[in-house]
């Protein structure tokens, strides 16, 4: 279990993360959502000791993140930030091999080699294993990095906006992988995502943040509610249900129908009107 208690991070006078407490139980996929600057990535970085916190404590299992041996923590928890630019020419196999560094420090044992092979086959990278990373597409490189953190073989897997710069097909493949990692390999996956609908459809639990504090924690069904989203994102978003999943329709220019002036299930749009219905601007946008 990851236990965050009273954690604060300040830059100058502004608290980016403000006295946050949170429990993340073992297993499943947790998605952290929120507007830009809500403190999602900062919180994730502090859990993974990439950033020091100014106050509070974080424990991963029985390890206190601030004081524990960094390598010990690296065997429990892996974090993947948005793909960093690489300085040197590395092959996919080289990169995945780095995932074993916390375990063997660079000299690979048979266990390490097995873990590397497993990660490579899990991410379908067999054909690419000897390719150099700088000769590959962004999506392929992303897969290689995920293979690296899989090879790290940790209980906890933290990913900071893993869907950034991925088209829908690649985003879908990434989410499938993470879901399988949670379900088949029993990993605890925590991701930061921008698109709340991905969170709604793929995660077991959602943490909604705003202005450095946690606004709500709960199942997708509990979080994906119109008043709550309005509070978190400061935007009135219509939420509908599709095959058991709640979808927030923030793609629509307006939730208010100009025909019947309603914004919910009572709208004429839901009663089989086939021609496009004129939509008015949202009240808050218009003003």
């Amino acid at each position: 279990m990851i236990l965050v208690s009273g954690v604060t991070k300040r830059y100058g006078k502004t608290a980016v993360v403000d006295d946050v407490s949170l429990q993340l139980p073992r297993g499943g996929v947790t998605a952290i959502v929120g507007a830009n600057g809500a403190g999602k990535s900062t919180l994730l970085s502090m859990i993974a000791r990439l950033l020091d916190s100014d106050a509070g404590s974080i424990t991963v299992g029985d390890l206190d993140v601030a004081t524990c041996d960094s390598r010990e923590l690296a065997r429990r928890l892996a974090i993947l930030r948005q793909t960093n630019d690489l300085q040197s020419r590395l092959t996919v196999a080289d990169l995945v091999g780095f995932g074993r560094f916390p375990h063997s420090g660079g000299r690979h044992t048979a266990t390490d080699r097995a873990a590397i092979e497993q990660a490579i086959s899990w991410m379908n990278l067999h054909d690419l294993r000897d390719r150099f990373l700088d000769e590959m597409s962004g999506g392929q490189r992303q897969r290689a990095f995920v293979a690296m953190v899989l090879a790290q073989d940790t209980e906890y897997l933290l990913l900071d906006e893993p869907l950034n710069n991925l088209d829908v097909a690649h985003a879908h493949a990434m989410l499938t992988t993470l879901r399988r990692a949670a379900d088949e390999l029993n990993k605890t996956v925590v991701i930061v995502v921008h698109d709340i609908n991905y969170a709604s459809c793929w995660a077991d639990q959602i943490v909604a943040m705003k202005n450095g504090v946690i606004r709500a924690v709960g199942s997708p069904r509990e979080i994906m509610r119109r008043p709550l989203l309005k509070d978190v994102f400061e935007l009135d978003i219509e939420v509908v249900e599709l095959r058991g999943h709640r979808i927030a329709h923030f793609y629509l220019p307006v939730p208010i129908c100009a025909n019947c002036n309603s914004a919910n299930e009572a709208c004429c749009l839901n009663r089989g009107v086939s021609e496009p219905v004129p939509l008015t601007l949202r009240p808050q946008v218009a003003s």
């Binding site: 993974a48 930030r81 420090g105 000897d130 390719r131």
Partner: protein, 332 residues
């Protein structure tokens, strides 16, 4: 998938046509060739004397070339900055500055009495202190852009050089001559007293960096990924920077400052190693350092008869290489 795999395999087979180890052997062969030319070209006069003189120079150049190459690669990895080298950061100017300060404060007579070894150790000690202060400013809490650090280093180097020449002016002329003869080394006036000591230091430092090679590999992924993989980032960085500083002391003490040697050989080493792993890039850069120094000196001194201008030539080529690197990095 099948459409893309044939080109994949050709790329692979082309870049794997020479294994990294064979490339290293090739580098070593180039070094040996350069050393042979340097030792044997235009032999005349008292053979024993000439060979001994050249041998001493060769030993110094091998030490300097090797340590500059190895130190630069490790330094660039921990600072995650391929435009920066210990010399460009101003460390060799710092060494000369400390040397001048010591002569100014202690007086030329005392410096003469103390002898080369204690002076060298004193200088190195002060250098390590100053360099760790400097690195904590440049790579401390506040994160600075790659370019700002390089610019600050260049300006710092020029300030330190100006200060050193200021001190040289303030010394009375006769002490200054003594200082120059005794302490300021150059390609033509290799400091012979320190060669053995420097050889030991270079061997120990190289051994340490070699033992760090796996950690250095991980550091090429950048700070966040390295920390995530359990690398004690601050500690590793501090240690590698200190070792690099030590190697700068060695090379500056032996042949004086050569600002761009590290930049050139590291840049070439990354290109020709065929891999980014430090098992290859570090020794490759070391070998290239030796090849450039010894080969360059062999050509200039024995063939063109222009002994002292090697550092000028390196500066010329290094400057062009640097401009190319900046434009390439900014364009990527």
């Amino acid at each position: 998938m099948s459409a893309t795999s044939p080109p994949t395999s050709t790329v692979t087979s082309r870049s794997r046509s020479l294994t990294p180890n064979k490339r290293l052997v090739l580098g070593l062969a180039v070094c040996l060739l350069a050393a042979g030319v340097f030792m044997l070209a235009n032999l005349s006069g008292n053979l024993g004397f000439v060979l001994e003189l050249r041998g001493r120079k060769l030993a110094a150049m091998v030490l300097v070339g090797w340590s500059t190459g190895v130190a630069t690669v490790a330094f660039q990895t921990v600072t995650n900055n391929r435009l920066l080298t210990p010399s460009i950061m101003g460390l060799d100017a710092l060494y000369v500055f400390i040397q001048s300060i010591l002569v100014l404060v202690l007086g030329i007579a005392l410096v003469g009495q103390v002898g080369a070894y204690p002076m060298f150790f004193l200088n190195v000690g002060l250098m390590l202190l100053a360099a760790s202060a400097l690195t904590s400013v440049l790579f401390g809490k506040r994160s600075r852009s790659v370019y700002v650090v390089v610019l600050a280093g260049l300006v710092l180097g020029s300030v330190l050089r100006a200060l050193s020449s200021l001190i040289a002016r303030v010394l009375d002329p006769s002490s200054f001559m003594v200082l120059q003869d005794n302490l300021f080394a150059s390609f033509t006036a290799v400091n012979p007293q320190l060669i053995w000591l420097c050889a030991v230091i270079v061997a120990l430092a190289s051994g340490y960096l070699w033992s760090m090679r796996a950690t250095l590999d991980v550091l090429t992924l950048g700070r966040d990924a390295a920390v995530s993989l359990g690398v004690p980032y601050q500690r590793t960085m501090r240690r590698v920077l200190l070792v690099a500083t030590l190697l700068v002391c060695v090379s500056t003490a032996l042949v004086g400052p050569i600002t761009f040697l590290g930049l050139i050989v590291a840049a070439i080493a990354y290109q020709v190693s065929g891999t980014g792993r430090h098992t290859v890039t570090m020794p490759m850069a070391g070998l290239l350092g030796v090849a450039v120094l010894v080969g360059g000196q062999a050509i200039l001194e024995q063939i063109l008869g222009q002994a002292t201008v090697l550092s000028v030539v390196i500066e010329f080529i290094g400057g062009i290489a640097f401009i190319w690197l900046v434009i390439r990095k900014a364009s990527s």
